[in-house]
């Protein structure tokens, strides 16, 4: 990473590369994108995250020029794109369905865009070989798309979209079919390409870890709207809604009633249960319904009530998920509320400290939980 932090979205002087201005897209009477306004800056690695059918592909297709917005405007580099066909945009897209040309070899697929640019033969060959090397497909250059595996096809689609070195690259679930190792390698390759070429990436992914690893900013979408856009760390640590908190990573949601206390709120969530306290800058007024979002890794688990913990609740272990380096304990509180806590597995499995039906204490600090409107 460079020493100056890359945050063009905080700089009002920066001209965004992509501007969605009140964009709505309807298919018949179904609204796929709902009045969306969003800026994306040059050299960003912008990740779109959201459940299936929330409109990620539709957003990409509008950027690529394959769908026109029903309402609103899309600007790329300040230019209104409404009448610019896909072949006239400095944008390349990797399709979710790959869309490889079945009658062309892998080599010809990757060379396709370069040939259209009228590049010379040696230039094309060099660039294609580079792409083949990058995606580790050298051995398959002569094959046809139906003669390679699903993961290899995905890499061909990626290589084909990268080959032209466009200013803006749209990747629709580029790595979904790859195994973990190859996916991580490719992620780093993408970041490397991004750093070297300054290409702006918009990437759709179902894999949060991937979004967290590669993205400069993550946008969480729901039903055609962007719910939150923030850096990966902020999305994780400061979700702005229960939806985002729940969507990203594992989380405990405790719904309750908040009353202002000190620099935060006291929360009562069940009859007879102890009050919880959370520091926050969120303003819910003097009191109101709220939801607490607490990451399991911030919840410690102990046999006795910890002496100094601000928040401590007692419950019974219902389930244990062993994840190798850590275990997640599912603990049921007196009122029936389930809370997950995590502990590192420093001991071997047979000497584990807690087991099913043990009564344990869960505790967390007053800054561990995020207070959200309920």
């Amino acid at each position: 990473m460079s020493d100056t932090v890359f945050t063009p979205w905080d700089d009002p002087g920066q001209e965004p590369l992509i501007q969605f201005k009140n964009v709505t897209k309807r298919f018949g009477d179904f609204t796929a994108i709902d009045n969306l306004t969003q800026d994306i800056y040059a050299k960003e690695f912008f990740a779109l995250l959201g459940p299936s059918g929330c409109g990620k592909t539709t957003m990409m297709r509008m950027l690529g020029g394959f769908e026109t917005p029903t309402e609103g405007q899309i600007l790329i580099a300040g230019q209104d794109m409404s009448n610019v066909p896909p072949n006239k945009r400095a944008v390349n897209m990797m399709f979710q369905s790959y869309a490889l040309f079945p009658h062309l070899s892998i080599f010809e697929n990757i060379a396709f865009g370069l040939k259209r640019e009228g590049k010379s033969k040696p230039e094309i060959e060099e660039r294609v070989s580079e792409m083949l090397r990058l995606t580790r497909l050298e051995k398959f250059a002569r094959r046809k798309p139906h003669q390679i595996s699903g993961g290899q096809r995905q890499r061909v689609a990626l290589a084909r979209s990268l080959a032209k070195a466009p200013k803006l690259l749209l990747l629709d679930e580029p790595l979904g079919a790859l195994d973990k190792k190859l996916r991580q390698d490719t992620q780093f390759e993408l970041m490397d390409i991004q750093e070297k070429t300054g290409t702006t990436f918009v990437i759709v992914t179902h894999d949060q870890e991937e979004a967290m690893t590669v993205a400069s900013r993550v946008a969480v979408m729901d039903e055609g709207r962007i719910v939150q856009v923030a850096t990966p760390a902020d999305i994780y640590e400061k979700p702005n809604s229960v939806y985002v908190a729940d969507f990203i990573g594992d989380v405990n949601i405790i719904e309750g009633h908040a009353t202002r206390a000190g620099d935060g709120y006291d929360i009562t969530f069940a009859l007879g249960a102890p009050k919880l306290h959370a520091k926050t800058s969120t303003d819910l007024g003097p009191e109101g319904k709220c939801a607490l979002a607490i990451r399991p890794e911030k919840v410690s688990i102990s046999a006795k009530k910890p002496a100094k913990a601000v928040n401590a609740v007692e419950g019974e272990i219902i389930d244990i998920a062993y994840l190798g380096n850590i275990s997640t304990y599912h603990v049921q509180l007196a009122g029936g509320q389930m809370v997950k806590g995590q502990a590192a597995n420093t001991q071997r499995l047979e000497r584990r400290q807690f087991t099913w039906e043990d009564r344990v204490w869960l505790s967390w600090t007053d800054t561990a939980a995020v207070v959200l409107e309920g």
């Binding site: 394959f66 066909p85 897209m93 399709f95 869309a99 040309f101 396709f112 139906h146 084909r160 032209k164």
Partner: protein, 297 residues
């Protein structure tokens, strides 16, 4: 056993409906003309025993095939048939491809209707349809009346009984055989491929040439064979719509059989025609085979 039966049925079918008639025709083509019923010798007489069989085979010869080379009518007729069939195929492709393309682009709910319209002519007799073309193309026919009425021509056009009418007839008759396989290929085409091509810098038209045409190639080839093969041996259309100078082997064949009652020569003509057709038929089969392989399991 079931498997064997499954394979046996089509082969039995081929044997009875193709191979046996072919052997009969081949045998006649090797015989000599005779004033008898049937009008050729020898005929197989099993009652004469072994000796009779020997005499039978001894009487067969290639004389009729030799005869075909002595009169230039025959090879000219073959050549002209090839030419008419090839040109008709090309015309059918030029007309059929845009229709198939339009059908494949049409909204889903329209496709069955369009398909119906293409197949609809098959529901009336082929002969009636060819006769109605006579009504359209003749000197006083609808086409000429219309052209005279619009003032495009001052004299009625001479279309009926020319090769033009034959082309019109063949293209009209076999057009569905061209449209359907091309449509089948175009319908399968994933529109994302065209988007990808455009994304990579193609205009709509280049995308059409680089993606749509190659991917409908198997349909084009199938359609061309399905038109070319029957058109080559076509008899009814040249007989009804063609003129005296329209030379097609189907017509020659018919005349040898029914006017001259020279069954052996007619059979020889048919055998040669079959030989000529075997080449495109084998190529057609290979195209289908390749297509199946390309689509994979």
């Amino acid at each position: 056993m079931r498997r064997f039966a499954l394979i046996a049925v089509p082969y039995l079918w081929l044997l009875v409906l193709f191979l046996v008639p072919f052997i009969i025709v081949l045998k006649i083509s090797l015989s000599d003309i005779a004033l008898a019923i049937p009008p050729y010798t020898p005929t197989l007489d099993l009652s004469a025993g072994w000796e009779g069989l020997r005499a039978f085979f001894a009487a067969l010869d290639l004389e009729n095939f030799w005869f075909l080379t002595t009169d230039d009518l025959y090879w000219k007729a073959y050549l002209s048939s090839l030419q008419i069939a090839a040109l008709s195929t090309l015309l059918a492709l030029l007309v059929g491809y845009p229709i198939a393309y339009g059908m494949a682009q049409a909204p889903d709910e329209w496709r069955p209707t369009l398909m119906m319209l293409v197949i609809l002519p098959f529901w009336t007799s082929f002969l009636i349809r060819v006769y109605s073309w006579m009504g359209i193309l003749s000197k006083e026919g609808f086409l000429n009346q219309f052209l005279l009425w619009t003032g495009l021509v001052s004299e009625p056009l001479e279309i009926l009984n020319t090769n033009t009418a034959v082309y019109i007839g063949i293209v009209y008759t076999y057009l569905p055989f061209m449209i359907l396989p091309i449509y089948a290929a175009l319908e399968k085409l994933d529109s994302a491929l065209l988007e990808a091509a455009e994304d990579l810098g193609c205009s709509r038209i280049t995308a059409f040439w680089l993606i749509t045409v190659p991917l409908s190639k198997s349909g084009i080839i199938a359609g061309c064979f399905l038109v070319f093969i029957p058109a080559l041996g076509e008899f009814v259309i040249p007989a009804l719509l063609g003129g005296s100078d329209t030379l097609m082997i189907g017509k020659v064949l018919w005349e040898e059989f029914f006017s001259n009652r020279d069954w052996p020569v007619a059979s020889a003509v048919a055998v040669i025609l079959l030989m000529i057709l075997i080449v495109p038929i084998i190529l057609f089969q290979r195209n289908e085979q390749k297509q199946r392989e390309a689509e994979g399991p």
